[in-house]
Amino acid sequence: MTAQTGRFDGWTAVAVALTGGYLLMIIWPLVLVLINSVAVGGTFALAGFETFFSSRLYYGTLINSILVTVCVTLLSLAIAFPLAYFMTMFRVMGNGMAQVLILASMMSPPFIGAYSWILLLGNNGMITQLVQDVFGFKPPSIYGFVGIVLVLTLQLVPLIFTYLMGAWRTVDVSLLEASESMGITGWRRAVQVITPLLWPTVLGGSLLVFVRAFADFGTPMLIGQGYRTVPVLIYSSFVGEVSIDKSFAAFVAVIVIIVTLAVFLFQKYLVDRQKISMTAMRSIEPKRLTGWRNIAIHAYVYGFLALALAPLIVVVISSFRNTLYGQFVDGYSLRNYVGAQRDIFRYVGNTFSIGLTALAILVVVAILLAYVTVRRRGPLSGTLDTMTMVPYVVPGLIIGIALVTAFSQGPIILTGTFAIMVIALAIRRLPYSARSIAALMHQFNTSIEEAAISLGASKFRTLVQVIVPALAPGILSGAVLSWVTIITELSTTLFLYNTSTQTLSLGIYAQVIRGQLGTAAALSTILLVLTMISLFLLMRLPGGQRALRV
């Protein structure tokens, strides 16, 4: 009866188009994976199930994955909690810089960590050889369980750390003063007062770490060797080191999706149940410590920083070392760069062309998605909101498998094209971007939009001329963050590239697998520099630091 109740306008069309895109690009491919997992040669079969549980070779990977994941989660938490506690409660020299570096180590390409620890502690690693030369024995191997746990822990501590720091910022100093006035101080206060306050954050952060560690592919692939985890099993059954069994790979992928989905739902349930709402009127003033305590907290903070940054430094140094048949030999030069320059130009060119195209599409789609879901509540936008979160729950490797399954045959063939790389990268990042822009729009006052409309502007004009420019700083820093994750993404695109669409991160992976360690180090250095420049840019943007805080 009125203009509002019908509400079929351009935005409904946008919502329908977005839904269609999602159904085609994500839901349909994932449904295909699901069908493949229980269908062999066109008939329904639980062959995957039987195979998986018939041999320790297969179900063992699940045990391995769970062991790794639990260890990584607990270790990350055990390291991150004191780190956040010290950096909030006490004066730490260079605190700001240290926080930035911790964030930078989180944003660095994940698999470079694994590769770098191989350079340090691998069979021909720098430390391995040093120990062998000086003491005459071989230090314990980095390959396998220990290596995976080490690399993933160092990678994921910053994630929990940023969550914790975010929570700390909401703790009002009066809560601490109140407990002090009741005679509870020091560690008792940390345990009795602070921990319960931070508990929901700790839990939420831990479960995210759990999912990340569980779904990580690059690290166990590079450093795991015989110690195979579930993602590695999926990869090897899909590309077929021994035998290609796509149905089996699909079945294992479904197991992974079930596990991650269960953890996400559990996390959501816990967070919703235990929400503590706090806003700090006065945030905590760090205290100056003296004597051995002061030295101890500095040693802890900088000790962690050294471990977290070591891989990055090692990679950069290694990139200048001379190599022979891919292995490092004595002497330093620019040969790794010069020798691989043609590849380097190709990788860098692809990284930029594919990455920027994906980024542009991502930002536009995320803005439309956020607008439709925030401002146009309805059954359609509700569905859209749920679908947006699908790539958040489904690991990148499985998205890659789904896309390759759906688009390597049948009506639409996209595998190996520029388009599929762009689509995959955009899809992978979409939940994060859409969420952060939606959060910005939630905070944006509706009456500003109403003011524009009352002045005669259409809804579209309001979006383009008022909302987007007003949110531009936030959208821009979100885009830079997305750019960093796009250029360091590996697992999603692993099945989708060919030589003409190979990006830097895919190049590094290929070179490491091929044993070309020198070229890999050079490429890693370039990727690292690119990442650091982007992060530096982000820090300089207004509100950029906030964008990094998860």
Partner: protein, 361 residues
Amino acid sequence: MTAIALRSLRKEYGGQIAIADLDLDIREGEFFTLLGPSGCGKTTLLRMIAGFNSIEAGTISFDGVVINDKPSAARNIGMVFQNYALFPQMTAAKNVAFGLQTRNIGKGESARRVEAALHSVHMDHLKDRLPGALSGGQQQRVALARALVISPALLLMDEPLSNLDAKLRVEMRDTIRQAQREAGITTVYVTHDQEEAMAVSDRIAVMNLGLVQQVGTPAEIYRNPANRFVAEFIGKTNLLERDALQRDGRLVVELGEGVTLDITEVVGKTTDGTMQISVRPEAVRAADSGIQAEVVDETFLGSHSQVRARLSSGETIEFLEFSHRASLWQRGDKVTLQLDTSMLTFFDAEDGVSVMRGASK
């Protein structure tokens, strides 16, 4: 200038009635205020007129033309919001120019009109500032200029002063009133502040529970409130409960201590029954004769003081004292009070509706 007619207007939120069959006429060029406590439906009604809220039933018409289905953008309204709602990335001048831009008005004319609008709210010197660099009062001036510059058919204001401090509020309401008079634009203004409503309005609609309780000029609704709610909401008042009695063909109420009031002439209803009498604080004064009371306390406020006293009936009455006594009354002091009959309003104690002769509906 535009006249607005609302007919049997209805709005529901999930089964809850927010506006119930409301009829209202707003005259051309009038400064019309919707006044009421929070949740009374005044903002809902304003947003229905603006086109931001849907209409469940009834019609809204501008100059006789029903605009129910017209989208907000096509209604040619200027709106001023409580939180200013300036576009944060645009300067004051660009904010004001926005509405002209959507109307495809040429650069030269646009610049001239922006200049004039900012001048009328005394903001021309700050036209290149971003909203973030302006104070609340300055932002609201820009918002007012932005709403006025498009020469809207109707100016809508939703609690435009409630985010400002007390002193600025008084200053701003003069600016608003002046700008509205100069432009001669029909204006609908929403507020919960009765003093503000009295100060700016030509007419006021007092609303409660989604219903219009009374429409009238500020003086009318203050002096002759239609019901107990209006009497208590507008200004301060004391409510005394008394039985009306027939005596020698006259209708009288006994106030206390043998003091009776003959209300045959003022009250329209001739039946007897329990009544509530609204006694404004300024209708009470201490005198040599009258009803007996005992002082509870006296608060000195400079120009006058405020006294609370207990009547022999046990009711407490509050009134103003302008005398210059050397010392304040103390608790327990005996006083004699006289009531100004012409300033009293009588309500039916049961339904709270005015029983005054010629009471407005």
